[in-house]
Symmetry: none
């Protein structure tokens, strides 16, 4: 789950500091010194988040943000602005341009990482409410309920926990042992094949809505939950 973060910043010292912090936090930093380099980098690989310096040589950060919003590929990539103190006045313009958050220089790397994580969380549907929705399937943690579209899905406790884990960790393969750890809780011993059976049961409960394809088998590796069939 290495998140790719593009840093658009002309000062080397700040760029290196941020890159180091991001790498330490398990993310994958790329960088560009100005707007042109940023667009080239994005054309190559669309990042999961962009850290954008307000003041850039040539095209300003604000102008770049506006452009990125207009492009289809980048219209949903979250942007965090790096601003110097005193530039805060322009917050309004930033919000208008679709910026997701601000960090005021000088900032601690801890604060930056916290904001990056928060924005990433928000951008992936996890808004902290405990409700996750993926491909027509919705799971409501607090209410302990599952919906396929508008209909409630009857589901047992273990199937529910399994589905909840999958929906909060989609697009990723988990071995039977890992699933036992996360869903059953590690301290109890059950056979690995038990996972298979519950996978089967989960598929069966999703069958009436033709969603059983979301639970996918990866031969020799485990199971994956995915929106795409």
């Amino acid at each position: 789950m290495h998140k790719r973060i593009l840093i658009v910043e002309d000062e080397d010292s700040i760029r290196d500091m941020v890159a180091f912090a991001l790498r330490k936090a398990g993310m994958d930093p790329m960088h560009a010194a100005d707007a042109r380099a940023a667009q080239l980098a994005i054309a190559d690989t669309v990042p999961d988040l962009i850290l954008l310096d307000w003041m850039l040589p040539g095209t300003s950060g604000l102008e770049l943000a506006r452009r990125l919003r207009r492009e289809e590929l980048t219209s949903e990539v979250p942007i965090i602005m790096l601003t110097a103190r005193g530039e805060e006045m322009d917050r309004v313009n930033g919000l208008e341009a679709g910026v997701d958050d601000y960090v005021v220089k000088p900032f601690s790397t801890r604060e930056l990482i916290a904001r990056v994580k928060a924005v990433l969380r928000r951008s992936q549907g996890d808004d902290g409410s405990g409700v996750v929705e993926i491909g027509g399937l919705k799971i409501d943690g607090p209410a302990h309920r599952v919906f396929a579209g508008e209909e409630a899905v009857p589901i047992g406790p273990t199937e529910y926990r399994l589905l909840y884990f999958f929906m909060t960790h989609p697009e990723r393969v988990y071995s039977r042992a890992q699933l036992l750890d996360h869903v059953w809780g590690g301290s109890v011993y059950v056979e690995e094949r038990t996972v298979d059976v519950h996978i089967r049961r989960l598929r069966k409960t999703l069958e009436p809505w033709n969603l059983e394809g979301m639970v996918q088998t990866v031969r020799g590796a485990g199971y994956r939950f995915s929106a795409s069939v």
Copy 2:
């Protein structure tokens, strides 16, 4: 509907001032001087809201907030942080830890009370009138009455409190322990199975209006009150 507010603050003067203001506003203040005392107080009775000083001797307010969020019983008790000016930098950390609001010292008691009320209102689906209506069932807090459509529903004290809690916290699962804490009040010890019996009694009182389906069992998790069947 006396709301229990826990004040976690080591300075006597502030604590007393806040307690006095809260009492005047019709709430029920408890207090603790540090994190340890706070946890003991909570173990006795889960409050409806926590006022938490940022700087505490020993465990910091932030750390305590994180802990409380992890505990099932207190995971949804709203927290308002009391911070000194200049500590605002750490807002990010606070939001991450699930803090609901901030009040910056020095604050007026009027402001504090306003925030407390706002947060309390937000934390339960209460618009302030004390009257809640869900799916044909209406509960009138001030009048201490329940209506199914136009008809009054005869209901006992405990059933009433249980129903009131459910109707102010619908669409959400509560374990028996949580219900005991919120409806019975925490400081008394009763068996968890007692909840079952009162659930049963509540269902029976709602039966003549075919509303017993609103009280739902979630096997292995607890009970939920919901308009949808």
